[in-house]
Symmetry: C2
Subunit: 496 residues, 2 copies
Amino acid sequence: MNLQEAIGRFRELGTKLQAYQHAMGILSFDGQTGAPKKSYEGRGLSLSILSGELYKQFINEETDELLNFLLENTKELDDVTRRSAEEARDEYDQTSKIPMGEFMEFMKLQNEASHVWESAKLGNDYESFAPYLEKLLETRKRFAGYRKPDQDPYDVYLDDFEKGYTASDYDRFFDTLRERLVPLIKEAIPAFRSTRTDFTELTYPVAAQKKLGEEVLDIMLLDRERFATAESEHPFTMGLNKNDVRFTTHYYEKMPFSALYSTIHEAGHATYELNTADELMYTGLDDGASLGFHESQSRFYENIVGRSREFISFLYPRMKEIFSEQLADVSAEELYLAVNKPAATFIRTEADELTYSLHIMVRYEIERMLFSGDIKVKDLPEAWNSKYHDYLGITPPDDTRGVLQDVHWSEGMFGYFPTYALGSALSSQLAASMAKSFDYKDDIAKGDLSRINSWMTENVHRHGKLLKPKEIVRFACNEDFNADYYCDYLISKFSV
Amino acid sequence: MNLQEAIGRFRELGTKLQAYQHAMGILSFDGQTGAPKKSYEGRGLSLSILSGELYKQFINEETDELLNFLLENTKELDDVTRRSAEEARDEYDQTSKIPMGEFMEFMKLQNEASHVWESAKLGNDYESFAPYLEKLLETRKRFAGYRKPDQDPYDVYLDDFEKGYTASDYDRFFDTLRERLVPLIKEAIPAFRSTRTDFTELTYPVAAQKKLGEEVLDIMLLDRERFATAESEHPFTMGLNKNDVRFTTHYYEKMPFSALYSTIHEAGHATYELNTADELMYTGLDDGASLGFHESQSRFYENIVGRSREFISFLYPRMKEIFSEQLADVSAEELYLAVNKPAATFIRTEADELTYSLHIMVRYEIERMLFSGDIKVKDLPEAWNSKYHDYLGITPPDDTRGVLQDVHWSEGMFGYFPTYALGSALSSQLAASMAKSFDYKDDIAKGDLSRINSWMTENVHRHGKLLKPKEIVRFACNEDFNADYYCDYLISKFSV
């Protein structure tokens, strides 16, 4: 096999794999949006067959040899092929180093655990879920040993979700947050207590909410020929390729700002996918650099743009037209304060911008202790509640609103949570770097996001996975990741 | 290999193939409904890769041997496995007997011809399309020779679309129509000329049309947990499996009855798919028995139910509520006459119930002559126009509204058209048989379709492809197919 042949075969494989992923993506998107209720079982069957076929196409001796051959010749490869081969090698190893039988067993366990977790959450019954969580954790630790026996198992999973980040990176990150944000929050919450929110409890008809949402998508300059929206129970974004990005919203008549900000959030994810470079199509690199970077974009548009005083001032006149009754006696400043009001609450997904990262910190610290053995699965509720008490000054009244609230652990996903906080922090650092080039707040005040989008595309979006997360930070900010930007931003926004 | 093993492997293969078809179906459904405009290319690539994979999974020596083994042991097979193996054998032979290179060439030709046809139709330029049609026809004839060298090529394709039907069946069928319907139409059209249609030209808001459509679906008793609807340019139905059926509608503000009757038509197709027997799932038999039978169901619900005086009388009060202004001075009888008014028109898809089959007859006669060599491709426009003149008394003003109007030939589909007329005729014969069991018109007048649906399920739907088209006619009607029922029905409805 010569190198040109190998590159050709590798491209062909990539295109074939993406066809399976494309089909499975659309099946899943359809399942969460337009599909009829009873289609569930048939779709599950098809998805499991197709994922088996995808596995066979990818995990085999031929691929193994092909990847080895390419990676022995990295100096002669162009950047895209090299990174793409590295990513493929990594994914190959993640899957192939686990004995098939154990992997199948784990899939079964995941499935069972998800069901048990659902009931446990409904019935506030942590004890029924604990044995499954125990097994999930034990399996994940064992799998990490198969894959990277020389590494700390928790680091293995942190790296899966955020290439290049280890527990020591995150420890430093969360130390900074703990030190600088906990005191801020303890001051800000009482200070905002009298913020007016009566008008957020009125009825806002869904049709009018949709109208506003559509206009915001135009303000964000999304290319309507390359994305489509739908409604689903939980909002999400799916990038099939850069010419086909989908995202969803869920409308609540009584929560007008829920759909607005989830639309901006998902549109932020979509903007990332829509602006990856053409040359990355079908290489597996036409996606966000990492979960954290993806979240940096959704949070940037949602919070730094969407919850800014400038954006609210810009949108306010139009909102007054669309919701003339509901906002009749509400000023722009009152609107701004209402969408930013910090509060100590139990549920992560409903948390405000200021307290959000502390919810994540709780989860990170617990995962860290679970992997180090400093805590047992049975002691999780206690640890959870005491951390909520320490950082937010509240104690969850039950495990449903406590340790059982998130789906991630029930699917055996450990190391995922910290990327949420990292993304928020990255968004602030990116904004600070952007501010050195031009006054982006002035652009927001004019409702003109074109320069902002161009800067993000040039510095982040276009690279996709071609650069690694830490490389993108350096490219975009001329320095390494630094959590102080995030703390500075929050302190400046929420200090009283 | 013992028989039990073979049956197991055959089932597994069937389930795997349906997973690919399921995925490709959803990709295509999505492409015609929610997908963004520029997603076209990526979807095309994925679909072509997946169809190649599907081909490889199905067309190989192992399948060939498996099918031969099963069909050597038909006496020991249950009915479902036997029919399923027969269908698979048939499909295998349809594909595998054509040399791969020639097949790929044909796919390319199809693709080019479709594009040329689109421009030719837009620009009224038959000459540019004629060489492609010539090649498509020549290829189809050649392929028929590879597949069934002893048969007339046209019969090969008639059988593809309607198992068991040959040109001699269709000749007899269309002879009857020509003899009995042409004179009727020549009388009916002038007689209906003064039928009031002014109110059909008013504006009917889409939201109100949708509301009516949803209520009609409830009247038709479709199980909302197993189907979903969407909007598309051209309405269609897609049955992924009996728990997941989709169909679409297209709304025109100025054509209120277009969406109503296309909804009923597609819901008729959907009802068929929804009511196939459970035991047929994943066997390839959980589909309509044939195109003609599928059309018999859509036409039955659209015309025999939906355009009946009884149904209009039942729906009239509700329509008056929903369209109170538009129908203010319209009586139920005027509504009934307006949705049934026969007229000589150029476009098949817009034809009324009475003239529809004559549009098909023109196409059948032309296909017949093309395959026999009695006519050359270059002479098609002339032949077309002269037949429209003979049967409907009109001459298309251009080829756009004449020989170029339909997509079928541009995709090399010959032998498809006659199933449309056959379906209409079958629907009348089924209705006549149903009438021997109970007074279905009385049920329609009450808006209660439960007995009608049960009869159709028992006699037609549940069998799927387990019985062949001619067997279903005998099962449901205790006699062979007979076109006189159709003529009787139309004569009784449209005689003046």
